[in-house]
C-alpha cells in the first residue's frame, strides 16, 4: 500500500486532497428496473416508455430481477457484502423529467454493502504502487428522463426514454488523495463492470457518470468541507475536476474564506466548476420505504447462481498472465485492463497453442507482443478498435504460427500482416500465393552469399581488416537478394562461413 505524496502547494504550506466518487452505472439489461419497457440508446424520444415510466394513474412498479442480479454480481466482483434483505425507498422531489414525483432508490437498506477495489498507479511497477480504495455501498435506483431545451423557443420538451432505466450507484469511501488515484479508481471500476457485464461502461453515452466529492485539508488534520461536482462523464474530466476544485478550495481557504457544502457543475470547455446549488436550497427528499414494493429478499440459490456466473476478474487474470503465462507486469496489466482485449488475447492464445501444438504459456509472449505492438499499431493507424479489427484472433494465431515454425521470417510476417489488413485474406494463403515462404535451401543462399561477397570486395577487405560491424551489411544484402525469404539463421551462418 502506498501513501500518496500528491500535495497542493499553497501560500500557507502543503494541502492534501480528499476525494470520494459516487458513480452511476447503467445496468446492462434489455428492460427497465420496474416497468419492462425497452432501454435502447439513441431511440426516438418517448418511444421507450411504458405506462409505468410515464407514471400514469394506478400504475405500479415490479422489480426486474435481471437488474437485481447484475447489482449482486457487481457487488461480488468487488468482494462486497451482499445484503440478502434490502428495501426500496422513495426519494421525493418535483421535476419535469421525474414523472412519478419521486425516484425509487435505496437509502436505508442498500442491496450491496462494503467492498473494495484495488488500484495500481504505475503499471510498470504495480507492486510498489498498489492502493485499496474502499467502497461504501452499491444500491440500485431509477434514472430520470431528460429535458430538451432546444426544441422550442419558450418551452422545454421531455423525453422519458431514460425514465426508469436501472442504475447502480457505487459509492466509494473518501479514500483517494490525488487526481491520479481518482482516475485509476474510475478506470478500474469501469474495467470490473465490463468484465462482469453489468454495465457497458460507455461514458460518452452516459452509461456511466461520476459525482466527484472533493475537500482539502492540511495533512493530518480533520476532513474539510466538501463540494460535490455532478455528472462528470470521463476519466480525464474526473481528474480535471479534482485538480481544479482542490486548487480552487485552497485559494478560497488561503484568502480567509470558507468552503460551502454545495453541488457544482463541471464545464469542460472552460475547465472549471461552477456552483449549482448550496446546501441551504437543497431538497428535503422525504425518503420513505416505497409501499408499492415488498422488501427484496434474496435466497442462497440466487446468490450462488450469481457467484457461479462471474467470470475471471481483472486482478486474478492479471496475476495469472504474469505468473502462469510469464508475461511482463506491464503487458499483463495492459491486456487485462479491458475485458474485450483480454477476451481477444485469450482467443489468440488458445488458437495459437492449438495449431502450434504447444502450451499457452509457450505461445503467450509472442502473442502478447504481436497484439500489443503490431495489431494495436495497425488498428491505431486505421482508426479501428479491437472489436472491429479486420483480423480475427484465429488469423492472428495462424500468422504467428507461420513465424514460429520458420515458414516465414518476422520481416515477411509484417508484410503478410499488411496484406491481411488490406484484403482480409488468410495469412497461409497470402504466403502461398505470393511465394513468401522462407527458404533454408543452403545452396541458393550460398550462391547469394557468394555473389554478395564478390560484388563487395572492398567491404570484405574492410571486414577482414577488423570492421566487424559490416557483418550486418552482408546479411542484409543477402536477405535482399533472397527477397527476404531466406531463413535468417542460415543466412547468418553462411555469411560467417563465407567471410571465414
Amino acid at each position: 500500500m502506498t501513501e500518496s505524496t500528491y500535495r497542493i502547494q499553497g501560500a500557507t504550506g502543503e494541502w492534501e486532497v480528499v476525494i470520494g466518487l459516487e458513480v452511476h452505472a447503467q445496468v446492462t439489461s434489455n428492460a427497465k428496473l420496474f416497468s419492462g419497457a425497452a432501454t435502447a440508446f439513441g431511440a426516438e424520444p418517448n418511444t421507450q416508455v411504458s405506462l409505468v415510466d410515464a407514471a400514469m394513474p394506478g400504475m405500479l412498479p415490479v422489480p426486474n430481477m435481471e437488474c437485481i442480479r447484475q447489482a449482486v454480481r457487481t457487488g461480488m466482483a468487488i468482494d462486497a457484502q451482499i445484503n440478502k434483505w434490502s428495501r426500496f425507498d422513495r426519494k421525493n422531489y418535483f421535476y419535469a423529467d421525474l414523472p412519478q414525483g419521486y425516484q425509487i432508490s435505496q437509502l436505508y437498506h442498500p442491496i450491496v454493502g462494503e467492498g473494495q477495489i484495488e488500484i495500481v498507479l504505475d503499471e510498470k511497477n504495480p507492486d510498489a504502487s498498489k492502493k485499496v480504495i474502499g467502497v461504501e455501498r452499491i444500491h440500485v435506483e431509477q434514472d430520470a428522463g431528460k429535458l430538451m431545451h432546444d426544441q422550442h423557443p419558450t418551452s422545454s420538451y421531455v423525453d422519458l426514454n431514460r425514465s426508469g432505466v436501472a442504475l447502480m450507484e457505487i459509492v466509494s469511501k473518501p479514500d483517494m488523495r490525488s487526481p491520479a488515484e481518482a482516475g485509476a479508481y474510475l478506470s478500474k471500476l469501469r474495467t470490473i463492470l465490463r468484465y462482469v457485464g453489468s454495465c457497458d461502461g460507455n461514458m460518452d453515452q452516459g452509461s456511466m457518470r461520476a459525482d466527484v466529492n472533493v475537500s482539502v485539508r492540511k495533512p493530518g488534520e480533520e476532513f474539510g468541507t466538501r463540494t460535490e461536482t455532478k455528472n462528470v462523464n470521463s476519466v480525464r474530466f474526473v481528474m480535471a475536476v479534482v485538480e481544479h476544485e482542490a486548487n480552487r478550495q485552497v485559494d478560497v481557504l488561503e484568502a480567509g474564506g470558507k468552503i460551502v457544502q454545495e453541488t457544482r457543475l463541471y464545464d469542460p470547455d472552460r475547465n472549471e466548476t461552477r456552483s449549482m446549488r448550496s446546501k441551504e436550497d437543497a431538497h428535503d427528499y422525504r425518503y420513505f420505504p416505497d409501499p408499492d414494493l415488498l422488501p427484496l429478499e434474496l435466497d442462497d440459490a440466487f446468490l450462488e447462481a450469481c457467484r457461479q456466473s462471474l467470470p475471471e476478474l481483472p486482478d486474478a487474470k492479471r496475476a495469472r498472465y504474469e505468473g502462469d503465462l510469464g508475461l511482463s507486469a506491464y503487458n499483463a496489466a495492459t491486456l487485462t485492463a479491458d475485458a474485450d482485449t483480454a477476451r481477444w488475447f485469450e482467443a489468440l492464445l488458445t488458437e495459437g497453442a492449438r495449431i502450434q501444438k504447444k502450451s499457452e504459456g509457450d505461445v503467450a509472449k509472442a502473442s502478447a507482443n504481436w497484439l500489443l505492438s503490431e495489431l494495436y499499431g495497425a488498428l491505431n493507424r486505421i482508426g479501428k478498435s479491437l472489436e472491429d479489427s479486420p483480423v480475427s484472433p484465429e488469423e492472428g494465431a495462424e500468422l504467428l504460427a507461420l513465424v514460429a515454425d520458420g515458414t516465414i521470417s518476422g520481416t515477411i510476417a509484417k508484410q503478410v500482416f499488411e496484406i491481411m489488413l488490406e484484403t482480409g485474406e488468410k495469412p497461409g494463403r497470402i504466403v502461398e500465393e505470393k511465394g513468401l515462404k522462407q527458404t533454408s535451401d543452403t545452396g541458393a543462399i550460398e550462391a547469394a552469399v557468394a555473389k554478395v561477397l564478390a560484388d563487395n570486395g572492398d567491404k570484405v577487405e574492410q571486414y577482414r581488416g577488423g570492421k566487424e560491424a559490416l557483418f550486418g551489411f552482408f546479411v542484409g544484402q543477402t536477405m535482399k537478394a533472397m527477397q527476404g525469404k531466406a531463413n535468417p539463421q542460415v543466412v547468418n551462418e553462411l555469411v560467417k562461413k563465407g567471410l571465414g
Binding site: 394513474p57 400504475m59 415490479v62 415488498l294
Partner: protein, 494 residues
C-alpha cells in the same frame, strides 16, 4: 312480475340462466333507474351503452349455448377510482377531469371478463379521501335514506365509496366496486344498509386503481347481500404479477363455502371498541349482534386490542404520508389538469396546477403527509407510526389466539347530515375509528346491516377475520344477515 332492479346479483345471475328474463331487460331496468336518480349524484359518468353491450353479449352467448361467465347478465357500478379503458376516470377530482385511460384496471378487467356490464362510473370522495362523499369535485353524493318524521335533510352516504353505497341502496345497481383504505367500503355500506367486504390486503390487485395510500388500499365489492359479495369477490380476487404486493394464492370458492352455522367458532368482542360515550343505539345493536352470533352456534369471549386508541392517529400519519408521495405525479406535465399562467415557469405551473386541481381535503392530507416525512420530523411521526402499526397488527394476532373472528360496530353513528361535520376534519376522521385498525393490520373485514336506529336510519355491524380467512368473515356476516332480517329500503323521493 317483480321489478328486475329489486333482484340481487345471485337472483339476476340465476334468473338469467334459467331464462326468466334477458340480460338486456335487466340492463335496461337499471339504466332507467340510473337516469331517473340524478338527484342522488351517485354517478360521475353514466354508461348505459356499455351495460347494454355486455347484456347483449350475454344474451347472445346464452342463445349460442356458450359457457357463461360468473357475472353474465349482471350490470354493476364501477367506483371512479378504477381506471377504465376508453371511459373517463377522475378519482372525483378536477385534476383528472377529462382523463381517459388507455388501459383497464386488473379488477375491473376481471369483472368485465366474467360478463359483468358497466352502468357507469360512481362518484366518491376526491382521491378516496373522505368519509361523507363531500370532497368530490363533482358534488356531494346524497344518500337515498332520510330520517323519519318529515326531516328532509340530505344525508351523507358515507365515504369514500359513497356513490357505490347510495346507488346500491337506491337500486341503481345490484352491486358495485368499492375501495377501502381506512373504511371506505365498510362505513358507507353501514350508512346505507348494505354489505361490503374489504378482503385481506393483497387479495385484489391494485394495478390500475388510482392510488391513495398504497400499503392500505384494497378493492372490494359492495352489494345488498353477503352472497352477492362472495360472488363478486371471487371474480375480483387473484394474483396479479403487475402488483408486487398482490398475493400469489388461489382464490377460494367463497360462495360455495357459505354457511351460517357458526358452531365451533369463537367470536371475540374487543373491549376497547366500547369507549365511554359510545352511541347507545350503536351499543345496543352490537349486543344484538352478539346474541345473533351465539344463536348461530358461536361462542363469545371478550378480547383486548390494547393499541386501538392509537390506530386513528397512526392511520392519519401513514395514509397522508403515502398519499403525499402518490399524488406527486399529478403535476400538469403529462396528463390531466394543467394550469400554465402567462410567463409561468415550471414551479409556477406546478403550483397553479395543483392549487386548482386538488380540493381542500386532498391538499390537507398532502400537507400532513409532507410534514410527517420531512427531515427532522420523520422519526417522530412516520417511523413511530410504523412501529405502532406493527403493535396494532400484533394485538390482532394475539386476539386471534383466543377467537376466530371479531364482532364490532362499523361506524360510531348512523349517517349524518351533509355539512354537519365538514367544518371539523377531526370529527370527520373519527368516523373511521372502528374500521381503521383492521386496515392497518391488512385483515379482511365486512360490514353487514343490523337494523334501523330510532330515526329510521340503517346501522351495521363489522366482522373482522384472520388474514386470508374471508370465508369465516362471510359466514358470520351471513349468520347476522339471516337473523337481522334487514329488509328496510329507502323510500323513493328522488
Amino acid at each position: 312480475m317483480t321489478d328486475l332492479t329489486d333482484l340481487t346479483v345471485a337472483e339476476i345471475r340465476d334468473g338469467f340462466r334459467a331464462g326468466d328474463f334477458s340480460a338486456r331487460e335487466v340492463a335496461e331496468g337499471f339504466n332507467a333507474n340510473v337516469a331517473a336518480a340524478r338527484a342522488l349524484n351517485a354517478f360521475i359518468v353514466e354508461t348505459p351503452d356499455k351495460a347494454l353491450e355486455a347484456a347483449d353479449a350475454a344474451d347472445k352467448a346464452k342463445a349460442a349455448g356458450e359457457t357463461l361467465g360468473a357475472l353474465a347478465g349482471v350490470p354493476i357500478g364501477m367506483k371512479d377510482l378504477f381506471c377504465t379503458e376508453g371511459t373517463q376516470t377522475t378519482a372525483a377530482s378536477h385534476m383528472l377531469e377529462g382523463f381517459v385511460p388507455t388501459y383497464e384496471s386488473t379488477v375491473s378487467g376481471k369483472l368485465w371478463a366474467a360478463g359483468a356490464g358497466m352502468l357507469g362510473k360512481l362518484n366518491l370522495d376526491q382521491f378516496a379521501m373522505g368519509s361523507s362523499n363531500e370532497t368530490s369535485y363533482f358534488g356531494n353524493v346524497i344518500s337515498p335514506w332520510r330520517r323519519g318524521g318529515g326531516d328532509n335533510a340530505a344525508l351523507a352516504p358515507g365515504g369514500s365509496s359513497g356513490g357505490s353505497s347510495s346507488a346500491i341502496s337506491a337500486r341503481l345497481c345490484p352491486a358495485a366496486t368499492g375501495t377501502d383504505t381506512g373504511g371506505s367500503i365498510r362505513q358507507p355500506a353501514a350508512f346505507t344498509g348494505i354489505s361490503g367486504i374489504k378482503p385481506t390486503y393483497g387479495r385484489c390487485s391494485r394495478w390500475g386503481i388510482v392510488a391513495f395510500a398504497s400499503s392500505l388500499d384494497q378493492a372490494g365489492p359492495m352489494a345488498r347481500t353477503v352472497r352477492d359479495n362472495a360472488i363478486l369477490l371471487e371474480v375480483m380476487s387473484g394474483f396479479d404479477p403487475k402488483d408486487s404486493t398482490s398475493l400469489d394464492l388461489a382464490v377460494p370458492q367463497w360462495e360455495a363455502g357459505l354457511s351460517s352455522d357458526l358452531r365451533g367458532k369463537t367470536v371475540g368482542i374487543p373491549k376497547e371498541y366500547r369507549p365511554d360515550g359510545l352511541n347507545a343505539e350503536i351499543s345496543a345493536m352490537w349486543d344484538r349482534g352478539i346474541a345473533w352470533l351465539k344463536d348461530a352456534g358461536a361462542e363469545v369471549v371478550e378480547v383486548s386490542l390494547p393499541h386501538t386508541k392509537y390506530a386513528l392517529p397512526t392511520y392519519y400519519i401513514i395514509a397522508p404520508a403515502e398519499a403525499s408521495s402518490n399524488l406527486a405525479r399529478y403535476d400538469g406535465v403529462r396528463y390531466g389538469q394543467r394550469d400554465l399562467p402567462d410567463g409561468a415557469g415550471l414551479q409556477d405551473m406546478y403550483a397553479a396546477t395543483r392549487a386548482a386541481g386538488f380540493g381542500p381535503e386532498v391538499k390537507r392530507r398532502i400537507m400532513i403527509g409532507t410534514y410527517v416525512l420531512s427531515a427532522g420530523f420523520y422519526d417522530a411521526y412516520y417511523t413511530q407510526a410504523q412501529k405502532v402499526r406493527a403493535l396494532i397488527a400484533r394485538d390482532f394476532e394475539q386476539a386471534f389466539e383466543k377467537c376466530d373472528l371479531l364482532l364490532t360496530p362499523t361506524a360510531p353513528s348512523a349517517s349524518f347530515a351533509l355539512g354537519e361535520k365538514q367544518a371539523d376534519p377531526l370529527a370527520m376522521y373519527l368516523n373511521d375509528v372502528f374500521t381503521v385498525p383492521a386496515s392497518l393490520a391488512g385483515l379482511p373485514a365486512m360490514a353487514v346491516p343490523g337494523g334501523l336506529d330510532s330515526a329510521g336510519l340503517p346501522i351495521g355491524l363489522q366482522i373482522i377475520g384472520k388474514a386470508l380467512d374471508e370465508q369465516t368473515v362471510l359466514n358470520a356476516s351471513l349468520a347476522i344477515e339471516e337473523r337481522a332480517g334487514f329488509t328496510a329500503r329507502p323510500e323513493k323521493w328522488w
